[in-house]
Subunit: 192 residues, 2 copies
DNA sequence: GTACCTCCGTACGGTGCCGTATGGTCGAGA
DNA sequence: TCTCGACCATACGGCACCGTACGGAGGTAC
């Protein structure tokens, strides 16, 4: 927790990452300058050098999230050539990531906040769009593919919610997760 | 907004309902004694007569939510005898309710808060249990019924998220919603 | 009408955070 | 070594909220 200080001086990105971590475990309200400064072993003097105010920090943190938490998974999954296998890989890794890092759920939780809403909209449309593209490659019509992509994404979102809420009834790993993903796949790829 | 004052004196329940409304549009952080007092046209003097502190108010509000926002829907739906029709009715009304009243999503958003977590766990298990019961009555085995209830519930949760986030891609009413529910039903009730 | 009980108004101290002001430190380069 | 600019520490004022103390208003009972 008390992060080591390899280089004494901090950069803008360090603050943004710390803010993202704060969102993950306390929500947007957790992004407070003075507590973050304590956590980083520095003071507000540093913060107000790099940022004009708290709002700018939140924006930077959300930018980071948008860039890293969607494209990273897509790139990582895109190397699998078979679309069905890729879909399975995507769902599995997404669910496992959502379990070990709750930042996704935390951002969603503040989805109605004016700073979060536009970012969240972009990310959601990117993700649903990517899913729909996979279903297209499985042979579904554009409308069908979009519907199924949407359904798969809502199932993912809801599952993430359950995990983050600490519900033991949601399978989060191992055989339970594999069976869950299999069922989700079988269900969403079945012909109408 | 400036609510009329039919009876000058307030009761504990008035505060709890106001707190629930505050959660709905500002999250847990929106439950602040002095702003609520202003909103109710009274002062802190009233509040600290009825409650020992802010925490007690949050608990009362969550109690209210637990009692009214789950059982009410179940009771209302339970009069439909046919299980498949009841499932359809349940999903449709739940999604429509989630759209006109965001309290459900707001509570979920604070699911990791120590005061919210236990309530949320109970509510989730009650809902998934009820759904599983419906799938049982449709002829599925206990394990199958639970899995399908879980899937239906995660889809509902995710869909709620999307609506609350203001995503236009999520069908929220009319033909789009009917088609969405039909697909969800067809999918979750299909034999394996 | 007076004693009492329920409920509320008001004033106060305390805390945690935001943002500003200003001086200090430290390394890079002339 | 001196200077300069990037970066940070510290102190301060202000605000919003929590919780307490206490003095009432208004109804009820007799």
């Amino acid at each position: 927790m008390a992060m080591a200080t390899p280089s004494r001086r901090l950069a803008r990105t360090d603050w943004a990452r710390a803010a993202l971590a704060a969102i993950a475990d306390s929500g947007l309200a957790g992004v407070a300058v003075e507590p973050l400064a304590r956590r980083l072993g520095t003071t507000k003097g540093s913060f107000y050098w790099h940022f004009t105010n708290r709002e700018a920090l939140i924006e930077a943190a959300l930018d980071l999230w948008e860039q890293e938490h969607t494209e990273a998974v897509i790139v990582r999954v895109d190397r699998e050539p078979d679309p069905l296998q890729r879909l399975r890989l995507l769902l599995t890794t997404a669910i496992m990531l959502a379990q070990e890092d709750v930042i996704d759920a935390a951002v969603l939780a503040s989805g109605n906040h004016p700073l979060v809403a536009p970012v969240l909209t972009r990310v959601t449309e990117r993700r649903v769009g990517y899913l729909a593209g996979l279903f297209r490659r499985l042979g579904f019509s554009p409308a069908q593919a979009r519907d199924r992509g949407l359904l798969a994404y809502t199932a993912y979102l809801g599952h993430t919610q359950l995990i983050q809420a600490g519900l033991s009834i949601a399978p989060a790993h191992g055989a339970g997760l594999r069976r869950y993903v299999d069922r989700l796949l079988g269900i969403t790829t079945a012909p109408e």
